[in-house]
């Protein structure tokens, strides 16, 4: 494959496949190509995309944060609690984002400064967070608590697209710029690849790894705010459902754009691809379990094809 080849499978395989599929769906499935449908796809996939970006940052730094799914649940329940005791929209958002920084920092401290492998430390903190989300309302959900202002904001449309989609795009641009075009982003990738080399270059890799957990927490905070704004009810077990689909998108990202690296453009393309496919199978009336199966099959298929090429 030469650099100029548009069909460079390793870099552009998934984007090209996404565009081709979009064209095919637009031609053969009339319901697919409406703005309303684009919003449906977007609203459903935005939390997954933000989750994927959150898990991507520690992974790029060589750490694996399993707690993020439980963190969504805990943050939403904390927001629900705040709202249930009469908190305003701003109060709910501040509580969620504030706690997200604290929880991210907690993961970072446990992993980096107590030198515990991240899979173990975040498994433990994840379970604690899950327990916390059950504790906040005795294992029950909060119903009808979300402040009206949040619901209203969530329904704003800019250029016909839901505001959630724009927030996701904005976050993606920020994460992309930080990771690819700032020294900190370089250090995150370099630390993930060869920590001992980066340490010799005078980089404080402990700080880099710690910050990767904090950034992941903040993104999960935005994810929780978006989710709580989408519905008036908050359930304690909402979060873990995002863990596997979100990670699937993160892992798909390393098969494109900059192959071998977790990257934001890869997350976006994978989200769009999977979102379209799930949308079409739902239009075609596929059973409820098909989405999970297809998610797994797409991940396996793409990775196998990339390995072979």
């Amino acid at each position: 494959m030469t650099k100029k080849n548009v069909l460079d499978v390793k870099k552009r395989g998934v984007p090209v496949l996404t565009v081709i599929l979009a064209l095919v769906f637009m031609i053969f499935i009339p319901q697919f190509s409406s703005v309303q449908n684009a919003n449906i796809i977007g609203i459903g996939r935005v939390p997954v995309a933000i989750f994927a970006m959150a898990s991507l940052i520690p992974l790029a730094a060589g750490e694996f944060d399993i707690s993020l799914g439980y963190m969504i649940g805990f943050l939403m329940m904390a927001g629900g609690k705040m709202a249930s005791i009469g908190g305003t929209a701003l109060g709910v958002v501040v509580v969620i984002l504030g706690l997200s920084v604290i929880l991210g920092a907690f993961n970072g401290i446990i992993t980096v400064f107590f030198k515990i492998p991240s899979t173990i430390s975040t498994l433990a903190t994840g379970m604690i967070m899950y327990g916390g989300s059950l504790f906040l309302n005795g294992g029950r959900s909060f119903t009808g608590v979300t402040p009206d202002l949040l619901i209203w904001i969530n329904q704003i449309k800019i250029v016909k697209l839901n505001i959630g989609i724009w927030i996701c795009i904005l976050l993606a641009v920020i994460v992309y710029l930080v990771l690819e075009h700032s020294p900190l982003g370089r250090y995150i990738y370099e630390t993930g690849n060869a920590r001992s080399v980066v340490e010799l270059a005078g980089v404080n890799t402990k700080a880099v790894r710690f910050l990767s957990f904090v950034f992941a927490g903040i993104l999960i905070g935005f994810c929780a705010v978006l989710l709580i704004s989408q519905t008036r009810n908050v359930y304690p077990d909402t979060g873990p459902a995002y863990l596997l689909p979100g990670l699937a998108v993160t892992f798909l990202s390393i098969t494109m754009h900059t192959p071998g690296r977790y990257n934001v453009p890869g997350v976006i393309w994978s989200t769009v691809l999977l979102g379209m496919v799930f949308n079409v199978i739902s239009i075609l009336g596929a059973p409820f379990w098909a989405e999970a199966v297809i998610n797994g099959l797409v991940l396996l298929g793409v990775v196998i094809i990339m390995k072979q090429s």
Binding site: H181, E190, N193, A194, S196, V198, G202, V203
Partner: protein
């Protein structure tokens, strides 16, 4: 029986690294193979273990026991022919017991209900007793001494009495390197017993004393050629050292300013530090850590200080301590009058102007998965991130000054570049910062002759500009070539100093210090 190689040559990308090497090892003899880094020892071993393949030649022949061929096609064939190799890193699993390790390599004996653990223990007992290794088989591998590990690795490689007939050649590839001198005798006594069973043994080592005491014959490789093969009774240590010294290379001459010079690079990067020549910039007093006990020396601006010593002398700790990557247990390091705190990091050392080029390139030198640009600009990333044009210019200039090939490798993955080009890039990375003290640990390891020459030129040039340079190397000729002063570390202390006499350092003395 016996082992013979005849007229074996190996080339990589047109460069011959092994040149018509012939060797014959009779049964039951221990044959020492010596040579500086890059002399072709590892290549020869890799040919015998089926990893590298000799160039096609009509007279090329490899004989292992009764089998004769012109190329051992893969490691499976080498094993089939009876070649067993034990490398520097013993193949044992840290969290397994000795008995488990033995079975992991020879297969677990099965009973009616899964693994027969009694048989596993009996098997391990049997193997260890053959070689007279007194180790508890239920002991965890991580609790063993280096000598015990290496002995067990040999026992695993050879196997039981009945496996012995299949072993036609045992290769010990620097497997004694990690064994402290006090335990080396225990190890080598056992090796001698293996030889007594009629197995020819090739021993690659840097320890001249061991060669003189335990080997029956010795071969010296130099620049890919077998330049000296004798029975041990006919040689002296001096003869071996003289033959190990690298001959003057006749590689292509390169004008020192062909691609620009360091001054030009520093000007582009706006680095204005000026170091006054002759001023003492680093003072090390009573430095201690692990094997290092009480090490005292200093370094002046513009000086190239060589430090030599055998592997067990504690020398390997010094580069890491000077560069702050490890914390010392005692003593003081002062740079420009400011003391290093006891708890050090590389970042703190860099801020004080000390940089390290480490010896293990894949592990500490470069990030193989990242690009040349990312590797080369890493320590000064903050300076370049908003100045893409300057970043590109800086990399291009460093490529020109250090002759990093190919010229268009700005975004090339570091891992696909040759060892020589990688080393030049790592050197460029640090030199571009103009550190006050630059510590080089084995800078020419796995580097081709032309790249060596270029690296030497840059080291000398940097010293002329006032940088203080400390070089650790196992190559006496390298130190004699570039150093202004050499000190020897023995048993954790500085025990000798050699200064230039009439502008010349005696390489024979440095060699003695390195190997004896």
């Amino acid at each position: 029986m016996s082992v013979a190689v005849e007229k074996v040559s190996v080339s990589f990308s047109g460069t011959k690294v092994l040149k018509d090497v012939s060797l014959e090892i009779p049964d039951g003899k221990i044959w020492g193979i010596l040579g500086a880094n890059g002399s072709g020892k590892s290549t020869l071993i890799k040919v015998l273990t089926g990893i590298y393949h000799p160039d096609a030649g009509q007279e090329t022949r490899i004989k292992i026991g009764d089998s004769i061929c012109s190329d051992i096609t893969d490691s499976g064939k080498a094993y089939e022919m009876g070649v067993r190799a034990v490398h520097q890193e013993s193949p044992l699993i840290e969290d397994f017991t000795v008995a488990e390790c033995v079975s992991a390599f020879h297969g677990y004996p099965k009973g009616r209900a899964g693994i027969d653990w009694n048989a596993v223990e009996e098997y391990a007992h049997e193997i260890l007793s053959i070689y007279d290794i007194d180790v508890d088989i239920n002991c965890m591998v991580r609790d063993l001494s280096a000598a015990q590990r290496n002995m067990i690795a040999i026992a695993i490689a050879i196997g039981r009495e009945e496996d012995l007939k299949n072993v036609k050649l045992l290769i010990l590839d620097e497997s004694d390197a990690s064994i402290p001198e006090s335990e080396a005798e225990f190890f080598l006594d056992r090796v001698k017993k293996v030889a007594a069973r009629g197995i020819p043994i090739i021993m690659i080592t840097h320890r001249l004393k061991s060669v003189m005491k335990y080997c029956d014959a010795v071969t010296v490789l130099n620049d890919g050629k077998n330049i000296f093969s004798r029975n041990i009774s006919e040689v002296s240590e001096e003869m071996i050292i003289t033959h190990m010294l690298r001959q003057d290379e006749d590689g292509a001459e390169r004008k020192s300013d062909e691609g620009g010079n360091l001054q030009g690079l520093w000007k582009l990067l706006k680095i204005k530090e000026h170091y006054e020549p002759g001023k003492c910039i680093m003072d090390v007093k009573n430095l201690a850590c692990k094997n290092l006990k009480d090490c005292t020396f200093n370094l002046c601006s513009g000086e190239v200080l060589g430090i030599v010593g055998t592997a067990d002398s504690g020398i390997s700790e010094i580069p890491w301590l000077l560069a702050g990557a490890r914390s010392r247990t005692g003593g003081e390091i002062t740079v420009d009058g400011k003391k290093f705190p006891v708890r050090m990091t590389s970042g703190k050392a860099l801020k004080r102007g000390v940089a390290l080029l480490p010896s293990d390139r894949p592990k500490y030198g470069g990030i193989m998965e990242c690009s040349l640009r990312e590797n080369i600009l890493m320590p000064a990333e903050r300076r370049y991130w908003r100045h893409g044009k300057l970043a590109k210019q800086a990399v291009q200039m460093m490529q020109a000054v250090f002759d990093i090939q190919p010229a268009d490798s700005y975004e090339r993955k570091f891992g696909v570049m040759s060892g020589g080009n990688q080393q030049k890039a790592i050197m460029a990375k640090w030199m571009s910062l103009k550190p006050k003290v630059f510590v080089l640990d084995d800078p020419t390891y796995g580097v081709d002759p032309n790249s060596r020459k270029m690296l030497f030129e840059r080291i000398k040039e940097a010293a002329e500009e006032g940088m203080g340079i400390i070089v650790f190397s196992t190559e006496p000729e390298l130190l004699a070539d570039i150093c202004t002063r050499v000190i020897m570390i023995r048993e954790g202390r500085v025990s000798g100093e050699l200064r230039k006499k009439d502008g010349v350092l005696e390489r024979e003395t440095i060699a003695r210090w390195s190997y004896l």
